[in-house]
């Protein structure tokens, strides 16, 4: 329960205030779930984005696509990952027991949280995970500011 200062209380109470609060809390509840175990978007591939002081790392889970066939492009602040997965060759003569792998074209664009040095971006693929490291632009790097004693 939030603490309300006496002076903040309105003279006429909104009769729906409690319901509105309840609705807000319910909304927050639904938004909050699944935040941790993967607030997954519906767009392939799934991405993990992290940063340290010098770089931004974007990791994409793209199994079944050879490293050379993933297209990565950058335009301003937007990083785009594009490609096609061709693992599922449909053969009529095969009898399938399970068909769970997806295939087809994919494209995903994300806005980077900071300016990066476009000419120093590196990408490498290992075991179906593509790691893109983007060195931050000098202006976006954290800087310590010393306080001088005057």
């Amino acid at each position: 329960m939030a603490i309300v200062r006496f002076a903040d209380q309105k003279l006429f109470r909104n009769p729906w205030a409690d319901f509105e609060r309840m609705r807000r809390e319910l909304d927050a509840l639904f938004q909050g779930s699944g935040q941790d175990a993967g607030g997954r978007g519906a767009v392939f591939p799934a991405l993990n984005v992290s940063e340290d002081s010098g770089n931004i790392y974007v990791r994409a889970e793209i199994p079944g696509v050879p490293a050379g066939e993933v297209e990565i492009s950058i335009e301003g602040d937007t990083l785009t990952i594009r490609g096609e997965r061709k693992t599922c060759t449909v053969e009529e003569k095969y009898s399938y027991h399970r068909r769970e792998l997806e295939c087809g074209r994919f494209s995903r664009a994300i806005t980077l949280p900071a300016k990066v040095q476009v000419d120093r971006i590196g990408a490498q693929a290992a075991n179906g995970i593509v790691t893109i490291s983007l060195p931050k632009a000098e202006a976006a790097k954290p800087r310590q500011i010393k306080v001088n004693v005057g």
Binding site: D36, G38, R40, G41, V43, N48, E61, H97
Partner: protein, 133 residues
């Protein structure tokens, strides 16, 4: 078929895989299983699993696929967006056909495991000649 847009697949966590004691996630890898006249083929999607991290067992008609993920993040990073979490993979199947265990082949490429389980050649029909006296 090739023009299809890909959808993301939610990773399913393994339900009741014994009683794990390590605080790790275990996922069920998505698979394609298809059968030809000669073999049963399994494709399993296990991103993040290296060649050495795969374990395949066939015991009493139960095929077990296990994949161990090597950590791919290094310390000191602040996470900004997390859509997938590293976790190991585990899935079991019952194989009905008689499999030639000696000739099982497995290859791992770009996070997809391809398993070829060749069938034992069925006993050929034999004709028994009836001999006259």
């Amino acid at each position: 078929m090739t023009e299809k847009e890909m959808q993301i697949q939610q990773k399913q966590e393994v339900q009741q895989a014994g009683e794990p004691t390590k605080p790790e996630k275990q996922y069920v890898p998505a698979v394609d299983i298809f059968e030809t006249a000669e073999a049963v083929n399994v494709l399993a999607e296990m991103p993040g699993v290296a060649k050495d991290g795969v374990e395949i067992e066939l015991e009493n008609e139960t095929l077990t696929i296990r994949g161990t993920v090597a950590p791919h993040e290094h310390g000191g990073e602040t996470v900004l967006l997390r859509e997938f979490e590293p976790g190991n993979y585990l899935r079991k199947f019952t194989v009905a056909e008689t499999i030639d265990q000696e000739k099982i082949q497995a290859t791992m490429a770009d996070g997809v495991l391809t398993l070829v389980l060749p069938k034992i050649a069925p006993a050929k029909p034999r004709r028994i000649a009836v001999q006259g006296i």
